[in-house]
């Protein structure tokens, strides 16, 4: 059995374990038999109506952030890149915070006003960032993309800060949303986000070999026969779709997109043919576990899951940063 097969088996197994822990642990313990025996209606309801959609949503969000983080790190050849580097997430946040700030509710959208506005914000930002980067530099060099992301990200960040500064009542709600959460979303959110996750992930997966080639630089990739411009564009769009939809349904959950690809690389290598899929699975696992901790650690109260990911993520991030710097110094 080769290393890749082992990696897939291990990742899938931990994901299954995480799902099982995610649905069974809580104020009410759910026995495994509930999956096939629906005689205990309460347990069955908790499993299928509350915990399962929450676990699946956490999994989808974690997976989206991790796979797009892996792709952005590879594309930008920058180990410190993450799904938020491009600034698309800030656009999604502005969309969501505007909804909360003004208390908007479009009648036909109802409670889905927020995610829809958020996705619109993300999409607008994506076109602006990519459009601006192309305007600055037609070949869209990596540095151009990163700098454009920083420009838009910080500008939108200040818009967010402005709204937070001006807000009164809704402060707690806005902060809570920004920190990120996957609670009380239900199946509809899953249905809403699923097509984006599927399309975005598929686009990235289609570019797995191109990402490998681009690790050696755009010129080298060009020599190897990669249509660099087109592929770069595809990867940016794919990653943005994933990031925008994840942020729209859950807020800006930090560190998953940065840390999971690194951990996966450390364990299984940086071949994107496997890295993307493995990051997808591991991202799901990590966010399911983090969400489990977030809702049980101070039970019956809940913490925003973003707090937990950052809590675990920051030390890991520090470790990676240290390692990178040490390597660079040698």
């Amino acid at each position: 059995m080769n290393k890749a097969t082992i990696a897939y088996i291990v990742s899938a197994a931990t994901l299954l374990v995480a799902v099982w822990l995610g649905v069974s642990i809580g104020t009410v313990k759910i026995p495994i038999s509930t999956f096939w025996d629906s005689s205990d209606t309460t347990a069955s309801n908790i499993l299928w109506k509350i915990r399962m959609p929450r676990v699946i949503l956490a999994g989808l969000v974690g997976a989206s952030l991790a796979i797009s983080g892996a792709a952005f790190q590879g594309l930008l050849k920058n180990p410190l890149a993450d799904p938020y580097t491009l600034g698309v997430s800030s656009g999604a946040s502005v969309g969501a915070v505007v909804t909360l700030f003004f208390g908007l509710s479009i009648p036909i959208l109802g409670t889905y006003t927020l995610p829809v506005f958020s996705m619109t914000g993300a999409a607008l930002t994506m076109f602006l960032v990519i459009g601006f980067a192309r305007l600055v530099d037609r070949s869209m060099k990596m540095e151009t993309i990163i700098l454009t992301g920083i420009i838009f990200g910080s500008f939108l960040g200040s818009v967010l800060s402005l709204m937070i500064a001006l807000t009164g009542e809704e402060l707690r709600q806005i902060i809570g949303w920004l920190l990120g959460s996957v609670s009380m979303r239900g199946w509809n959110y899953i249905l809403m986000v699923l097509p984006f996750v599927a399309i975005g992930s598929f686009i990235l997966w289609m570019n797995r070999r191109e990402l490998n080639a681009m690790l050696f630089g755009e010129e080298r990739a060009h020599h190897l026969g990669v249509n660099v411009k087109q592929r770069k564009f595809m990867i940016l769009i794919g990653g943005s779709i994933l990031t925008g939809s994840a942020v729209a349904v859950s807020g800006t959950i930090g560190f998953v997109g940065l840390v999971v690809p690194h951990m996966t690389r450390l364990m299984w290598g940086s071949d994107h043919r496997h890295l993307l899929t493995l990051s997808f699975m591991n991202g799901a696992t990590l966010l399911i576990i983090c969400d489990l901790i977030a809702r049980t650690i101070i039970s019956p109260s809940e913490l925003p899951v973003g707090v937990i990911t950052a809590f675990i993520g920051a030390p890991v991030f520090a470790y990676i940063f240290y390692r990178q710097r040490r390597k660079g110094a040698m």
Partner: protein, 488 residues
């Protein structure tokens, strides 16, 4: 195989290369040379499609390169970049496997046996098979460069473009890499176009060279037509001299640095010679350019000490060079700095003369013994013995190489004439001798002072050499005869 017509292009509006046209045939290696900023790398980038062209065409395999898709082009043309960094770790095999990218298509694009074979072959060809599971950043620069060569070879493209492939490599790795590429070109018929920084390497490994100057072709042709002193000096704006390679018919060039120190007048006179019963020696402060048929350090070179050693007439040794070197070392001479000769004649009978001309002086030293004199026209089978007429000609002046040869001819003619006048006969045939069987000759020049382009008998220098050698040889023969108790 590759045809470039009227190609112009560069980074921005202003083209960096202009009107470049050339052809490269299948299996040929073309080197692109030129000073920094002459556009050689730019030319390569335009050919490989990294930079846009503004004018002209690049034809690959008879087709305009513009009609190829990126993948199709990569199946025809592989590029080996300069050494570079990479952000995340890859194993050697994964890196080489990327070379198969242009051959894979479809969503799943499974790895075929053909892909596996090409990668295995490329790994073996470049000698990196044993590293195949190692992370590439753990390898040395030379090994990494070989991995990228393997990647380019795995592409199995009929054209290979290289941009200064030996940059940052030590000489052993330079040789290894270029040997590999040349072998690949001749065995597989791959066409190679490579930018070179090093003129001499390009001359050694390329069939033809293209020399660029300010974005245009200065000259294109075989190495001996391109690497010419005048051309290289003009294009590179550097003082150079070309010389033949010792083993191959390829020209090599060497830089002539401008010396910073002020040249102090430096001449050699009789007082620099020392004569003992054991040897005649000349020691000078600065090295002399020397051409000789000595035992130690024969040929052309720069030396500061010259020794003509007396050995017994029955001297016999398996390895004369080693024995002579040991002798020199024992007497405090540095082997790398000394020309050593031998003679059976008593060195005390050495004749040293100083001859003055308009340009400066010439010194001649002769030791002569005519016991085994030979008529060269009758000398088909004679046993070799220790040399008996050794001649040194030391010139205070600057001589080009041809003048060294002319000086040797003139000196030899003068020696032969002296033998004739002294009526020295070949004891076997009874005819007038032309020399002895193992005479040695040394011509050395200070390479300072007057420039003396010729040394034939019609020139002032040649006249002086002819007269000096004749004079000293006659005197040396007479001294020899007297010592032997012969009467003439």
């Amino acid at each position: 195989m590759l045809q470039v017509d009227n190609l112009s292009g560069g980074y921005d509006k202003e083209p960096i290369v202009n009107n470049i046209s050339f052809n490269v045939n299948k299996g040929e290696i073309l080197g692109i040379l030129g000073p920094n900023g002459s556009g050689k790398s730019t030319l390569l980038k335009i050919i490989s499609g990294i930079l846009p062209k503004q004018n002209g065409t690049v034809k690959v395999d008879g087709e305009d390169a513009a009609v190829y898709s990126q993948k199709q082009f990569a199946r025809k043309v592989a590029v080996l970049p300069q050494l570079h960094a990479h952000a995340f770790s890859h194993t050697v095999k994964d890196t080489v496997a990327l070379g198969r990218y242009p051959h894979q298509s479809g969503l799943f694009s499974s790895w075929s046996d053909e892909d596996e074979r090409a990668v295995t072959e490329a790994l073996a060809y470049t000698g990196v098979t044993r590293y195949k599971d190692t992370a590439i950043e753990l390898l040395s620069g030379g090994e990494q460069q070989r991995v990228f060569v393997a990647q380019a070879l795995a592409q199995e493209a009929p054209i290979l473009l290289l941009d200064e492939p030996t940059n940052h490599l030590d000489i052993a790795h330079q040789q290894q890499l270029l040997d590999t590429i040349r072998k690949h070109a001749s065995e597989k018929g791959v066409t190679v176009i490579s930018v070179f920084h090093d003129v001499n390497l390009a001359s050694l490994y390329c069939d033809r060279l293209l020399l660029m100057e300010k974005g245009e072709i200065a000259t294109i042709g075989e190495p001996q037509d391109v690497i010419r002193e005048a051309t290289i000096s003009k294009v590179y704006n550097a003082r150079v001299k070309t010389q033949p390679h010792p083993e191959l018919p390829k020209p090599q060039m060497t830089l002539l640095p401008d010396t910073l120190e002020e040249r102090k007048p430096f001449t050699i006179n009789k007082g620099n010679f020392t004569v003992t019963s054991d040897h005649v020696s000349l020691k000078v402060a600065k090295p002399l350019k020397t051409l000789s048929s000595a035992v130690v350090n024969a040929g052309m070179g720069w030396y500061r000490a010259f020794v003509n050693r007396h050995v017994d007439a029955n001297y016999n040794c398996d390895d004369v060079k080693v024995e002579m070197s040991t002798y020199l070392e024992q007497h405090g001479y540095s082997i790398s700095d000394t020309v050593g000769m031998m003679t059976a004649v008593t060195t005390e009978h050495a004749e040293i003369g100083e001859y003055e001309g308009d340009f400066g002086t010439v010194l001649v030293m002769v030791t002569a013994g005519v016991g085994n004199a030979v008529d060269v026209s009758q000398a088909l089978d004679r046993e070799q013995r220790v040399g008996t007429i050794n001649t040194w000609v030391i010139v205070n002046g600057q001589l080009p190489e041809e003048a060294f040869i002319q000086a040797m001819i003139t000196a030899t003619e003068a020696k032969t004439k002296a033998l004739q006048i002294e009526n020295v006969k070949d004891p076997l045939t009874g005819t007038i001798a032309t020399g002895t069987s193992t005479d040695s000759l040394l011509v050395a020049a200070t390479q300072e002072g007057e420039h003396l382009p010729y040394a034939g008998p019609i020139t002032p220098l040649g006249k002086l050499i002819g007269h000096g050698v004749y004079d000293c040889t006659i005197r040396a023969i007479r001294a020899y005869k007297q010592a032997k108790g012969w009467t003439s």
